[in-house]
């Protein structure tokens, strides 16, 4: 190659083509599909909790995209049905994730619907699972000599709480928990739902 302009024009043309194939075409296709009826937007508190989730970088260990039964036993683990594109229309930014250092949590609100469980687990994951390698988030909580009216007290097993007094959930912890509890895509999917069916066998009708 001996010319600058043709080199750059063709290089950009190839990139534009890739953008069309990987971003624009699937984007158009997904936008045409209906939003599942059971899906609702996040409430204000849930969205605040979601912002906490994003800012603490939870996505680096937790995916939010259960796989199909033909591919992996995600459903048997209680992680939910295979997710479809429509399940995410209210997600900004998306948090699909590429890692399962911890479990998939797209349906954690359905699998573990207890606020108290989540608060304990966020304060100290090893209070529930001794094998867990999830960070603890003590700064989402505060220690007080005793609970005031309206305070949410965190239930802790012997040896995990402070020597005296109680652990109270800060608003950040309550918001984050509200978001986790809102993660529930157990509603039925629309007929025209989109997902990668590449692991389905031919006799399954695909």
């Amino acid at each position: 190659m001996n010319r600058y302009l043709p080199l750059v024009v063709v290089a950009l043309g190839i990139l534009a083509f890739a953008t069309l194939m990987l971003v624009i075409a699937p984007g158009i296709q997904m936008a045409q599909r209906s939003v599942p009826e059971g899906l609702r937007p996040y409430s204000e508190q849930e969205q605040r909790g979601r912002d906490q989730y994003v800012s603490l970088g939870c996505v680096y260990c937790h995916s939010q995209q259960p796989r199909a039964p033909e591919q992996a036993p995600d459903g048997e683990r209680g992680w939910g049905r295979p997710s479809v594109a429509g399940d995410y229309v209210y997600d900004r930014p998306h948090q699909l994730g590429t890692m399962r250092t911890g479990p998939d949590i797209l349906n954690v609100g359905a699998r573990l619907p207890s606020e108290s469980w989540h608060l304990t687990h966020l304060y100290q994951p090893r209070a529930i699972f001794d094998w867990s390698i999830m960070p603890a988030y003590p700064y989402l909580f505060e220690e007080k000599p005793e609970a005031a009216p309206g305070d949410t007290v965190v239930v802790l097993p012997e040896g995990f709480g402070p020597a005296s007094g109680v652990v109270i959930a800060r608003p950040e912890a309550l918001d984050l928990t509200a978001y986790l509890l809102s993660l529930d895509r157990t509603y039925p999917v629309p007929e025209d739902a989109l997902r990668d069916d590449g692991y389905a066998r031919k006799e399954d009708g695909l």
């Binding site: 043709p6 063709v10 890739a18 953008t19 997904m30 994003v54 680096y60 603890a136 988030y137």
Partner: protein, 514 residues
């Protein structure tokens, strides 16, 4: 579905016609007629005058390097600073995975933030800056003309580093765009884009003022990368238009293209220049480099969605990315034949030149990383490795063992020619080499083995999820050992570079090049 499919078919047809038109134009104007004379562009006007392995080549006979020296020196120093900061965060993040209760007192210390700091600081602080330094060193040389507008890159350097500093503060406080590889808040992204303009303009001006007819293969990679990356970066960071799964496709289209269309061209282009330059003989088969370059552009740009295999995206786009991932064998083999055969025929040069050891090692790692990536994208393999630490090992094989190690070699080759004297203690360069190579080997094998075991455990419904976490712990510990060795190597690297800059002025010989 039929509408989409019809549209895609029509589109492919139009694109094929355009590509055919380009091919006819290129053949008619002899763009593809390349011979060994062209391959010798890396040498001076007189052609190859022996290997460039020691101090006898320090003379800057053309005055080209004198102009590039300032921005190159700044960029190398900036890159090394962020390398050490970024890899320290990497080690902390790694330790936190097996010491989960260590450093948990405040949000900025949590794993999620440390990991984001590590990735962004090494990607934009270290890899991008050292790559840009190589562009400023190599392009004026292969164009045989001094760098134009040499003050602009200095401004660009400061803007870039201010953006990084602000970005690091932003992540630590939880201000993030929240997507892997796209964490920088978009306001700071725009500052990075502005800094990029200050880098691109002088290089394009230099390219247009070049005094050779032929653009050497390194030039194709660099010139293309410097238009690809700003476009990618800008589109992916426009706020407010992407959402949901569409945003995920943008995310992985971007993230994989950072590797494919930015870091890889920087690494491959740098190796393409220094290997023949140091050995003193042209590259093995110059016309093969055409396939390598255009193959990379065509195939690498479409592999991104293999990060979403089995996910909530249309099947066809996943399959498209899998196919392109496998097609990557073609350009990679073309580059491998060129670079490895050139080195294999001149193994004496590996004894003579320490920088070549790094560069040749890194070039081999490019081949291995790409082969591994192609295989990893196959659905059958991906179902095991997806969502596991194996992917992290693979990412480091590409970004570290390939790009970073090539860049170490490039810096070791450039520095003496930039300051006009040799390294006082080559033993420390050897120490750096063995620390990062052994450290990386521990890092890579522990994550790859641990990742496969983790993936197999997750696929087995009879084993609890806890088992997949517990079994990885020893491998994560081993990774911390490897990562720490690599970081120590980086400190030795910094000592070497600062050492050559600080040597007393009395010993100086005329300034660097060609």
């Amino acid at each position: 579905m039929p509408i989409t499919m019809g549209l895609l078919l029509a589109l492919s047809f139009v694109v094929s016609l355009l590509a055919l038109g380009f091919l006819i134009w290129a053949i008619a104007t002899k763009q593809f007629a390349m011979d060994r004379a062209h391959a010798a562009t890396v040498f001076g006007k007189q052609g190859a005058d022996g290997p460039d392995t020691d101090g006898t080549h320090l003379f800057d006979t053309t005055g080209i390097d004198r102009i590039s020296a300032r921005p190159v020196k700044l960029l190398i120093l900036g890159a090394i600073f962020w390398l050490i900061v970024g890899s320290t965060f990497g080690v902390i993040a790694s330790l936190k995975l097996h010491w989960p209760d260590w450093l948990n007192q405040a949000a900025p210390l949590t794993f999620g933030r440390m990991r984001a700091l590590h990735l962004n600081l090494v990607a934009y602080g270290w890899l991008s800056q050292i790559g840009i330094a190589c562009m400023f060193w190599i392009l004026p040389r292969i164009f045989r003309t001094p760098l134009r507008a040499p003050k602009l890159p200095v401004i660009g350097f400061w803007l870039w580093n201010v953006a990084l500093l602000l970005g690091a503060g932003a992540f630590a406080h939880g201000w993030t765009d929240g997507e892997e590889w796209l964490e920088f808040p978009w306001q700071l992204d725009m500052l990075l884009v502005l800094a990029g303009v200050f880098f691109v303009v002088p290089l394009v001006k230099t390219a247009r003022a070049r005094e050779v007819d032929h653009i050497y293969v390194t030039g194709w990679y660099f010139l293309a990368a410097m238009v690809w990356f700003p476009c990618l970066f800008f589109i992916a960071n426009i706020p407010g238009i992407h959402y949901g799964v569409e945003e995920a496709t943008v995310n992985w289209w971007f993230a994989h293209n950072v590797l494919g269309l930015w870091l890889t061209p920087l690494g491959v282009g740098t190796a393409y220049y220094f290997i023949p330059k140091i050995i003193g003989k042209p590259i093995y088969s110059y016309s093969l480099s055409l396939i390598g370059f255009w193959g990379l552009a065509l195939f690498y740009s479409q592999v991104g969605i293999h990060h979403l295999i089995g996910g909530p995206v249309p099947t066809w786009v996943v399959t498209l990315s899998v196919v392109h991932s496998v097609m990557m064998f073609i350009p990679v083999i073309a580059v491998a034949v060129n670079q490895h055969v050139t080195v294999a025929r001149n193994t004496w040069a590996l004894r003579e030149s320490l920088p070549l050891r790094f560069i040749a090692f890194g070039a081999v790692m490019y081949t291995l990383a790409s082969f591994q990536g192609s295989i990893e994208a196959l659905r059958s393999v991906n179902t095991i490795t997806h969502f596991t630490h194996y992917t992290v090992g693979h990412a480091h094989l590409g970004a570290y063992a390939f790009v970073s190690i090539v860049m170490f070699g490039a810096a070791y080759h450039i520095m003496p020619r930039l300051v006009g004297r040799d390294f006082a203690r080559p033993g420390l360069i050897r120490l750096h080499f063995w620390l990062v190579v052994i450290g990386f080997a521990i890092y890579f094998f522990s994550l790859s083995i641990g990742g496969v075991l983790q993936g197999l455990a997750m696929l087995d419904a009879t084993r609890s999820f806890a088992e997949s976490v517990i079994l990885t712990k020893p491998y994560l510990e081993a990774r911390s050992v490897g990562g720490t060795m690599m970081t120590l190597g980086h400190i030795v690297f910094a000592i070497n570079v600062i050492g050559i800059l600080r040597k007393p002025r009395a010993a100086e010989t005329p300034v660097a090049a060609e």
